[in-house]
């Protein structure tokens, strides 16, 4: 197990800068998630740590050793990909044994059998050990490929969207299993995903990556409750945070004079007041919907999600989402009033999108 440090990493591909001056510090035994959209640089970062690619500049430290000159095998990291790469003609047992039988490991036969048995128990694939991998379901195959990573007892686990090709139910189950596994092994996990639910639910900390830069690093709670900019604010959380841009005047955000003026209801932090024009953010669960009066909107669509409803409202020309309890009665096309929770408002710079009270 080991700590991983990236210092001022830069990586370009044919003139295109994939990573700009990236620095990260992943603690020993931490479950760290790199979250970002396609093309953000997540997989590139993972490949640099694994030793499959070399950075243009900067240093990579694993357990306080600079591993820049080390080959992939020496770094002793395990990689798990989205598409499980198993040997189809081998049984599950043979697939699990394979990484241990490599010549330079010299692990005894009984030791191999012991490790395979233990991994199979941990991942609940004992009953599959003698099956060929082409007879397994997707979830089972992904468990086996994770097993093949664990059996080596590597210092770091690198996972590249390991759940994204599975269906929703299976993803949900494996999410909890992976987290449980990481806690049991107290291993260092670096997990890459574009799925904010995975990031929030599994990460001890989350690093949000966009256009090759780390935008914010924090616990899921920090990322969700104090997003550093509008990118993080809208990328994390579902539905996406509602945003409004306007001028702050007499305790209101004037989006369109006379047509859309949002009462703010709290004392504003000095940077917000100084900015004059701001982008106001509010999450759907912090928007309450009541009959008539106040800030008026029209119900545009209602989605029933069982435990709650997501209501889309038209406020002047803008669509706003509110999450309300399932038993709330809301009629499409009816006029309702919206109340934003004054303690849950976020303020961002109009130009840069950066949080004003950071």
């Amino acid at each position: 197990m080991a700590r991983v440090e990236l210092r001022n990493i830069k990586k370009t591909f044919r003139g295109h800068v994939a990573l700009h001056d990236l620095s990260l510090d992943i603690g020993d035994g931490e479950f760290f998630v790199l979250l970002g959209p396609t093309g953000a640089g997540k997989t590139t970062t993972l490949r640099l740590i694994a030793g499959l690619d070399a950075p243009d500049s900067g240093a990579i430290l694993v357990g306080a050793h600079d591993v820049g000159s080390w080959g992939a095998a020496q770094r002793d990291v395990a990689l798990v990909f989205q598409y499980y790469s198993l040997y189809p003609h081998y049984t599950v047992r043979q697939n699990l044994e394979f990484p241990l039988k490599s010549k330079h490991r010299r692990i005894g036969v009984s030791e191999i059998a012991g490790r395979v048995a233990q991994v199979a128990r941990t991942l609940r694939i004992e009953h599959l050990l003698d099956r060929k991998t082409d007879q397994l379901s997707g979830g089972e195959m992904q468990r086996v490929s994770i097993g093949r990573a664990i059996v080596r007892q590597p210092r770091i686990f690198l996972m590249d969207e390991p759940l994204s090709s599975l269906d929703a139910k299976l993803r949900e189950i494996l999410r909890a299993e992976l987290k449980d596994l990481q806690m049991k092994l107290s291993a260092t996990f670096l997990y890459v995903t574009h799925d904010q639910v995975e990031a929030m639910s599994m990460g001890d900390r989350v690093g949000v990556l966009n256009h090759g830069r780390i935008v914010q690093v924090g616990t899921p709670h920090e990322i969700y409750n104090r997003p550093r900019d509008t990118f993080v604010a809208t990328f994390v959380g579902s539905p996406a945070m509602n945003l409004f841009t306007g001028a702050v005047r007499d305790g209101r955000l004037v989006v369109a004079p006379g047509r859309l003026e949002i009462p703010i209801g709290v004392d504003l932090a000095p940077p917000v007041v100084r900015a004059g024009r701001v982008t106001l953010g509010v999450r759907s669960e912090d928007v309450a919907v009541r009959p008539g009066g106040g800030l008026e909107g029209r119900v545009y669509a209602v989605e029933n999600h069982g435990v709650e409803k997501i209501v889309t409202l038209k406020l002047d020309e803008q669509l706003v989402k509110a999450t309300v309890p399932a038993q709330t009665a809301v009629e499409v096309d009816s006029a309702v009033s919206l109340i934003f929770n004054p303690r849950k408002l976020h303020f961002f710079d109009v130009e840069s999108g950066v949080r004003l009270d950071a």
């Binding site: 959209p37 269906d167 959380g237 669509a301 989605e303």
Partner: protein, 369 residues
């Protein structure tokens, strides 16, 4: 606009059934979602309605008339695919106008109809653009516009937003629902995503292995699932299902879950209800959604102490796994309510939200407390 009736539809491939004795009525102006895992027969059903696929037996009636002998083009139905099939060399306007021009409408009528549809879909500013200049969501809006513009009797959609990213899907869900309300075309929509189904449907028809499992409003299938398959396919996180047995005791019913992992107090009448259905011993399963598991940080009467395991902070709320003997019970709590894994908390099942199933057949016992 139309109603669509499927009567005893069967389709097989060799000895394998793709669709088995399917009976379903899709009402005039309804938004019906066919929901199920891949391979359940939902897309085959949709394609059979469209006339893109033949059926081996049964009848498909559109507005009361059997159509299984008619060509796809003669059924007056529009189809929207997952991958938007737009003409790349035509503008959005011309793509939408295309099916009308094929019917030799006058230029003024074409223009009026294209603009009406574009307004409903909020793509008026994009009408002059070619598909290559549009985002994925806008391309799919144009494809939907092209389907709606000729006012077909029904619109069939096969995972139309499945290829879009999460944020865009979220927006498009509300848009599609709004559009349906505006134009009121009978819509049959296929998806494997239960969130989409819940969000948009007037009614959901859930299929598994070629067999229709349940048809009902989102609220009905969520609150009154007919069997374990529906119970666990609809809703996220998945409904907890635990093996159980009932025992009478001091005016109460003791619900024993797992392998005697916990004893939970339930109202006295439950025991008798279960006996009446012949499930006093064995073959009883209880189902409870995470929000039906009530949790307290302090000891409360009727609650049992349990150890918290993994905590998933999802933002507005947390999903917490509670250890119930060898089993896990997932519950939904306010954000940060359970502080850390390993803490002891007290829990019980809300009896109003507890479901009872026959664990052999998977059927609901229909017991509601």
């Amino acid at each position: 606009m139309a109603d669509i009736v499927l009567r005893d539809i069967e389709k097989y491939f060799g000895d394998n059934y793709i669709i088995r004795k399917l009976n379903l009525e899709i009402r005039h102006r309804e938004f019906l979602v066919l929901l199920g895992p891949s391979g359940c027969g939902k897309t085959t059903t949709l394609r059979a309605i469209a006339g893109l696929e033949t059926i081996d037996s049964g009848e498909i009636l559109i507005d009361g008339r059997a159509v299984q002998g008619r060509q796809a083009a003669d059924r007056d139905i529009a189809f929207v695919f997952q991958l938007f099939a737009l003409y790349p060399h035509l503008t959005a306007y011309d793509n939408i106008a295309f099916p009308l021009r094929a019917t030799r409408e006058t230029r003024a009528v074409v223009d009026r109809r294209v603009r009406e549809v574009a307004r409903a879909l909020r793509i008026e500013p994009l009408l002059g653009k070619r598909p290559s200049a549009l985002s994925g969501g806008d391309m799919q809006r144009v494809a939907i516009g092209r389907a709606l513009v000729r006012r077909p009797k029904a619109v069939l959609m096969d995972e139309p937003i499945g290829a879009l990213d999460a944020k865009l899907r979220e927006e498009m869900r509300a848009e599609l629902k709004h559009i349906h309300r505006e134009n009121e075309a009978t819509t049959v929509y296929v998806t494997h995503d239960q969130v989409e189904a819940m969000a948009m449907a007037d009614r959901i028809a859930i299929m598994d292995k070629g067999v229709l499992q349940q048809v009902g409003s989102p609220t009905e299938v969520y609150q009154y699932p007919a069997n374990l398959f529906v119970a666990q396919f609809v809703g996220s996180p998945i409904m907890n299902v635990l093996g159980a047995a009932v025992r009478p005791g001091d005016g109460q019913t003791h619900l024993l879950v797992g392998e005697n992992d916990a004893i939970l107090p339930f109202p006295g009448g439950l025991h008798e209800m279960v006996i009446r259905r012949g499930h006093a011993d064995g073959a009883l399963a209880v189902g409870i959604r995470p929000e039906g598991v009530l949790v307290s940080r302090e000891a409360v009467d009727g609650y049992i102490p349990v150890e918290a395991h993994i905590i998933e902070p999802l933002g507005p709320y947390d999903i917490v796994d509670l250890k119930l003997g060898k089993q896990l019970l997932r519950c939904r709590t306010a954000s940060g309510y359970v502080r850390r894994a390993g803490d002891t908390v007290w829990a019980r099942l809300d009896e109003k939200q507890t479901h009872f199933f026959d664990s052999r057949t998977g059927e609901s016992l229909g017991i509601r407390l």
